[in-house]
Point group: C2
Chain length 174, copies 2
Amino acid sequence: MPQTLAKIKRDFVEGLSQISRFWGFPKGMGAIFGVLYLSPTPLPLDQIVQETGLTKGAVSTEIRALARMGLVHRSTKLGDRKDYYSAETDFYAAIRSILQERQNSEFDRAVRSVMDTLTTMDENWVDNEEWNFVYQRVQALQDFFNAIDSLAKAVIRLESLGFSNVTKILGVLK
Amino acid sequence: MPQTLAKIKRDFVEGLSQISRFWGFPKGMGAIFGVLYLSPTPLPLDQIVQETGLTKGAVSTEIRALARMGLVHRSTKLGDRKDYYSAETDFYAAIRSILQERQNSEFDRAVRSVMDTLTTMDENWVDNEEWNFVYQRVQALQDFFNAIDSLAKAVIRLESLGFSNVTKILGVLK
DNA sequence: ATGTATGTTTAGTAATTACTAAACAAAATA
DNA sequence: TATTTTGTTTAGTAATTACTAAACATACAT
């Protein structure tokens, strides 16, 4: 039973939807990316609506999120007032972009708030056993976050995390 | 205005809750971990209930998830039929554990399904431009997932991703 | 100006997820 | 055997999130 390209595409898009949901993103997001990723040419919003079965509104908002993450790009054609969207195909670029996005996010605010705990304790120091214990634990967590942060920043700095870099990392970790 | 240890702890736990939510986990999960992380001794379920304000049921189910991820450990005392829970303090161990967990997860099933697309196309090959284009794109995605997978497996293999390893990685990426 | 093609915002609904309260199970103690 | 102490499961509720339908805004075309 020969599979049509249409069916193959649908399955692929379906798979990306599930992956998207797994990572905590709306499944529509994965679907939109999937449709764009399999298209040889940039697509206008209307066509994305057609192919995903979502509404204009949903596609409009979710594609904006995708663009913010650097996973899709918006372009225009001269003499055509539609916007056209295409998928980023350099996934390493996308990862970098996502990591960068994360820097100013709600997450960072929360991390920083946890870390403020240390300052507060410094300023109100009490020298008993429990106090010391808590301080030590919070500091350990801070150290961990800092290590992660260093790695993230290093990755951001790379222009390309191509195979050569991945290979290098694997070599070091061996 | 001197801050009590109790207040400091509450703020810290609150912060971890937000971080937890940011990563797509229930905020109660972060709270439970936070309480355990700041406790010098393992705590029984009842006390976690008290300190987080959640119900027994919620703590019971969420702590099981935390244990599955390797973020908390369950222990018992001889002659005491309570279970006691403590936080994993080696975060690198936790990361390893989470990555491992992920191997058999829904995520992997989805990734594999996407990759099956390639096999299906091989078996039903049609030699036209669009077919080739789609095939190429799907393959590029597979390559990316494979690279990620290699990295994940390398990390899992390390007994300790301590500073030495992080430093090494940073060196390579410079 | 009026109408048409686009994209965005908004207000409400559907679906999902986190959680509660309470029944239940199992095991130890009386 | 009945009672108490623990943890789990379940059924329902609250809160959140993803999405729809439709109003709106803008720019272009007539």
